[in-house]
Structure formats: structure tokens, C-alpha cells
């Protein structure tokens, strides 16, 4: 009885989560521009999407910013974890408190604050200011995922390597980095997705004439929804689905190997 109840509940939540997305997917293949009348199957909205130079530019911007921001955040964040391990507990706590601010603060405040900062130092807003801002909100996530792996045990393994005659560099490369690697990887991936997903901070820190996927969607929706956005939704959904399934399969295969 309880089980059936649980299943029905899961089903309701799933319908709630997926019906809107499914609606978009179905409508993306609709011949007509209408949101309510099905006039026949068509790929014209996909064509329109791929022929839009602005959209292609926005996609390129989104991914290049995400990769660069994630890279910068991963390097700065990992180094920060190493640096903080050498500090007194109190200094570390202060730094961690600052580290948490962009994570806990509302995006709108972070975005506005960064925008005002760029205005104050006369840094013209554009690609670079978006990149800087994205790195700023990604660094905390890298630190939070790498930090737990940098513990007493990492120190002990490092010492063991020195004890066995390794130089500090060698020990770092062969022992410490492999130990931190899972944290570094998840920090990078988390940063990447946060960056791709961001709208609010990008909205305030971009200049005129530069768009990411998010800001482009926002300005298009304001003018009026075009079905090419349904096509975009479908593509993003399928890509996310494929990526997540691949990651999950790999994960479960790795788990089974243990």
C-alpha cells in the first residue's frame, strides 16, 4: 500500500517536472508558430536556429566563457586550498567566510556589485568582464570541492613520499595531485555548469552587443517567444540527457569494477 502511494507520488512529481519540458519538445517540431494548434511535423525551427548568427555567436561565447572560467577557477581555487592548509586556523576561517559570500549572496547583488566595480575602475564591459565575474562565482565551488580532499591524510602521504626520498615537486606531482584529482575534477565540472547556467550575473556584467545563450533567450522572450527557442530547449535537453547518462554509466561501471 505504502509502496503504491510512493510510486504515485513519484509519478506526480515527475509529471510536474517533465510535462512543461515535453510540451516544448513537441512544439519545437510543430510546423506552425502557434502554441496551441498542431499543423504538422517540421524541422523549420531548427533550421532557423542554426541559421541565426546571433544564436551561434551566443553559444560560442557561452561555452568558451564556461571553459575558461572553469579553468581559471580550478587553478586559483586549487592553489588557494594548498595555500590555506599552511595558514593558521583563524586566517583560514576568515578567508573561507569571504569565500562563501558569492555563494550565499543573491546573484542580483553579486551581479550589481561587480557591475559597479567595473564602472568604477573604467573596465569596459564585455567578454572579459563576464569571464572575470564567472571566475569569481566559480572559485568558491572549486574550493568547496577540493578542500575536503586536502586533509591530514594528504599531508601524511606527502611526508611518506619525502621519507622515501622524493623531492617536494615529485611528491606533489605523483602523490598530492592524484589525491586531489577527484575534487579538482568535480570542481571544474561544477564551475562549468554554473557558468553555462548563469543568467543574472552575466546580465549585469555584459556589455551591449555581447550575448550568452541565457541573455539571448531573455531578450528574445521579452520580444515574443519564437519556436526556435523550443528547438534550442530540445537540443539542450537532449545534450544534458546524453551527458548525464554517459557520466552515470561510467560511474556505475567504475563502481562495479571496485
Amino acid at each position: 500500500m505504502k509502496k503504491i502511494f510512493g510510486r504515485i507520488y513519484i509519478l506526480i512529481i515527475m509529471l510536474f517536472l517533465y510535462l512543461p519540458i515535453l510540451t516544448l519538445i513537441v512544439l519545437s517540431f510543430n510546423e506552425a508558430k502557434s502554441m496551441s494548434v498542431w499543423t504538422g511535423f517540421s524541422l523549420r525551427w531548427y533550421q532557423e536556429l542554426f541559421h541565426s548568427k546571433i544564436m551561434m555567436g551566443a553559444i560560442a561565447n557561452t561555452f568558451s566563457i564556461a571553459i575558461l572560467a572553469a579553468l581559471i577557477a580550478t587553478i586559483v581555487g586549487t592553489m588557494a586550498v594548498l595555500g590555506m592548509a599552511a595558514m593558521k586556523q583563524r586566517t583560514e576561517n576568515v578567508l573561507m567566510a569571504f569565500n562563501n559570500i558569492p555563494m550565499l549572496n543573491a546573484d542580483i547583488v553579486t551581479g550589481i556589485a561587480l557591475m559597479l566595480f567595473f564602472l568604477m575602475i573604467h573596465w569596459p564591459r564585455g567578454y572579459m568582464t563576464i569571464l572575470f565575474s564567472h571566475a569569481t562565482f566559480c572559485i568558491p565551488y572549486v574550493i568547496l570541492s577540493v578542500k575536503p580532499r586536502m586533509n591530514k591524510n594528504t599531508d601524511r602521504l606527502f611526508e611518506a613520499a619525502l621519507d622515501l626520498g622524493a623531492s617536494e615537486k615529485y611528491a606533489f606531482r605523483k602523490i598530492v595531485l592524484p589525491e586531489l584529482k577527484p575534487g579538482i575534477m568535480s570542481g571544474f565540472l561544477l564551475s562549468f555548469t554554473m557558468s553555462v547556467d548563469d543568467f543574472i550575473i552575466t546580465y549585469f556584467t555584459r556589455g551591449a552587443g555581447i550575448n550568452t545563450i541565457s541573455t539571448l533567450i531573455y531578450s528574445e522572450v521579452k520580444i515574443g517567444i519564437r519556436p526556435s527557442l523550443f528547438a534550442l530547449s530540445t537540443i539542450i535537453f537532449v545534450v544534458a540527457l546524453v551527458v548525464l547518462i554517459t557520466v552515470n554509466l561510467r560511474q556505475s561501471r567504475a563502481d562495479r569494477a571496485v
Partner: protein, 361 residues
């Protein structure tokens, strides 16, 4: 035996707490020396200073006559078996053992032979390709040993290597360690808080507490002639009692006078208040009224080979701990006797610092 390691008045502070308070220690070539003490006594810090992981704030470290105080860990001919082993989790057994040889760019064939030899030495032939998380605690311990010795160090530092193992395995490994040491012919500097381990394996035991060396000597000396109440209490079960010298070689405890073997010559003139240690197995049980003092058994435990009893003395408030092979019942009144050579007289600690200073003399 020639001296291999010498510590000269080592002082170490962490922030404001003094962890080592002027440690002098000498370890001879091929000796098995154990640093014994409760957690926080400074034994691990001492080991880390010898290994090169900490720098002393004062004092020098000598190795084979040379000052190595400022030499980094990776250049010392010393290897360590770490607490919890510190085996590299992303490498298999063979790669772990090969680590120090790969660092030194030894030829692969040499490395292969050396791994085989080391695994044989620790009785784990054929384990080269096992992953670390597939090993039991005892096996991990052996691999940590194998990894530390392939580099042929002159000293092996062992930081509570048996601490994570269960009792039976721990006892087995004690024999194993002694055998390994014989086969390798190198110096072992061993750290433990387990007095039994220290007494069974060592040539020399160094008892530490609160950053001071309390006593050093052979296991027999440490057990039979503890120099103060701390050592006596830490090594084995004891009755540590308040006493006073009332005549030459006579000590009064709990209103009863006992002949003993210490007097003015040993620094215990008549009139001096002292601490007295009497081991529970050194108290003989006699028929009631026939011993030096009488008491009533108030509890009894059977501990494998012998019985352990608490006896309330008739004269006063003291509860004596006794160990005896014979069974006596709770409530039974008995007489007891202690031979003079089993009464260990010790100086009363005036204060922690003062007593330690006296011991340093």
C-alpha cells in the same frame, strides 16, 4: 655498540605550548629503542624531528656523528613506517614498494627483484598487483614495512605501527618485527603507548611524559625499578602508596613498618616522605594473622591465568591490588606479606617540573 643517533637538548614548541622540553637521547647502532608514553607526551614529535618532518626550536640532531638538524627528510638515510601506514591509495602494492627506487631512477630489473625480496621478507609473496584497499590491516602494515626497507635505511622509525590492529594480530606482529629486525640488522626506533609492546620487543625503553624523558633503561629496569610514580603507574598494574622512612631501610605504609632495601645511601634517609610501589603479583597471601598485615577481599576477577583481587586493609583506608594463582573468596579474611626486595621506594614528586629536573641530573 657505536652511537648512531643523538639528540641534544631538543626543545619544540607549537604556538605557545612546549611539546618537548629538552630531550637528550642516544640510540646505538642495531639497537631496538622504544619511546613509550601516553598520547601528547612528545614521543611522536621526537620521531618526526628525527625523520626530518619537524625542525626543533632548540637543540641539535646528530646522525652517525654528523649534524643533520637542517637536512630535509628526503635526504636522510632514515625511513618511517607511518601510523595508519600512509600507503599511496592510487598505486598498487608493487608501485608503493617501488616508489623510493623509482625516485632514485634505479633500473627496472633491480626494482622488480627488490620488490620480490621485500614481499618475501614480510611473508606476502605474490602481492605485487594487489590494490591497497584489497589488503587487510595486517597486510597493509607489512607492505608499509616492505616499502620502508627496500631503500636499505640504517634506521627504521616506526610510529605506532601496530596501533590499528586487533590484539591477536598485534601479538603476532611483535614476533614478526623482532624477526625482521634480526634479519635486516638495522636500528629500530619504535613508538608506542602500549607498555606490553615496549617491554616485549625493546633493548631499551624510554618513558616519556609531558615533554620530558621520565626514565630510560632495559625493560627489566623500567618494570622492576621505576624511578617515579608516573613510570610505575604507566608500566603495568601497581599499588602506588604513600609512605615514610622511619628508620634506616624501614618504610612505614598505612601504619605498618616494612623492611626494605633502600636507605640513606640511595637518597632515602629516615624521616623522608616517599612514594612506594608494590607490584600486585609481589604480595604473598598467608593465613589470617600470619603476615605483615591483614585485610578482607572485597572483589575478585578471574583474568585468564590468575585472579585479580582488591583487598581492604584492616589498618586503614587502603585498597590493595593483588594477583594470585590461587582462588580466594570475596569476604575472606587473609594475611599478606611483601619481601623487602619487592618494595620499590621512590622520591615524591615536588612538582612536575621539579621532579623532571631532578631526573635530568
Amino acid at each position: 655498540m657505536s652511537e648512531l643517533i643523538r639528540l641534544e637538548s631538543i626543545v619544540k614548541r607549537f604556538d605557545d605550548t612546549v611539546v618537548l622540553n629538552g630531550i637528550d637521547l642516544s640510540v646505538a647502532e642495531n639497537e631496538f629503542v622504544t619511546l613509550l608514553g601516553p598520547s601528547g607526551c612528545g614521543k611522536t614529535t621526537t620521531l618526526r624531528i628525527i625523520g626530518g618532518f619537524e625542525k626543533p626550536d632548540e637543540g641539535r640532531v646528530f646522525f652517525d656523528g654528523k649534524d643533520i638538524t637542517d637536512m630535509p627528510a628526503n635526504q636522510r638515510h632514515i625511513n618511517t613506517v607511518f601510523q595508519n601506514y600512509a600507503l599511496f591509495p592510487h598505486m598498487n602494492v608493487g608501485e608503493n614498494i617501488a616508489f623510493s627506487m623509482r625516485v632514485r631512477n634505479k633500473p627496472e630489473q633491480y626494482i622488480k627483484d627488490k620488490i620480490k625480496y621485500a614481499l618475501k621478507l614480510v611473508n606476502l609473496d605474490g602481492f605485487e598487483n594487489r590494490r591497497i584497499d584489497q589488503l587487510s590491516g595486517g597486510q597493509q602494515q607489512r607492505i608499509a614495512m616492505a616499502r620502508a626497507i627496500v631503500n636499505e635505511p640504517r634506521v627504521l622509525l616506526l610510529d605506532e605501527p601496530l596501533g590499528a590492529l586487533d590484539l591477536k594480530l598485534r601479538q603476532e606482529m611483535q614476533y614478526e618485527l623482532v624477526r625482521l629486525k634480526k634479519e635486516l640488522g638495522i636500528t629500530f626506533l619504535y613508538i608506542t603507548h602500549d607498555q606490553e609492546e615496549a617491554l616485549t620487543m625493546s633493548d631499551k625503553v624510554v618513558v616519556m611524559n609531558e615533554g620530558y624523558i621520565q626514565q630510560e633503561g632495559t625493560p627489566e629496569q623500567i618494570y622492576d625499578e621505576p624511578v617515579n610514580a608516573f613510570v610505575a603507574d604507566f608500566i603495568g598494574d601497581s599499588n602506588i602508596l604513600d609512605g615514610q622512612m622511619i628508620a634506616e631501610r624501614v618504610v612505614r605504609i598505612d601504619g605498618v613498618d616494612y623492611p626494605c632495601i633502600d636507605g640513606t645511601e640511595q637518597g632515602f634517609p629516615p624521616g623522608r616522605p616517599v612514594d612506594v610501589v608494590i607490584r600486585p603479583e609481589d604480595i604473598d597471601i598467608m593465613p589470617y594473622g600470619q603476615g605483615q598485615f591483614n585485610g578482607t577481599i572485597i572483589s575478585k576477577l578471574f583474568i585468564g591465568v590468575h585472579y585479580e583481587m582488591l583487598v581492604q586493609s584492616e589498618n586503614g583506608e587502603i585498597e590493595w591490588l593483588l594477583q594470585n594463582y590461587d582462588q580466594h573468596d570475596v569476604g575472606e579474611k587473609i594475611g599478606m606479606k611483601v619481601d623487602p626486595e619487592n618494595i620499590q621506594i621512590m622520591h615524591k614528586p615536588k612538582s612536575e617540573a621539579e621532579s623532571a629536573r631532578e631526573l635530568d641530573l
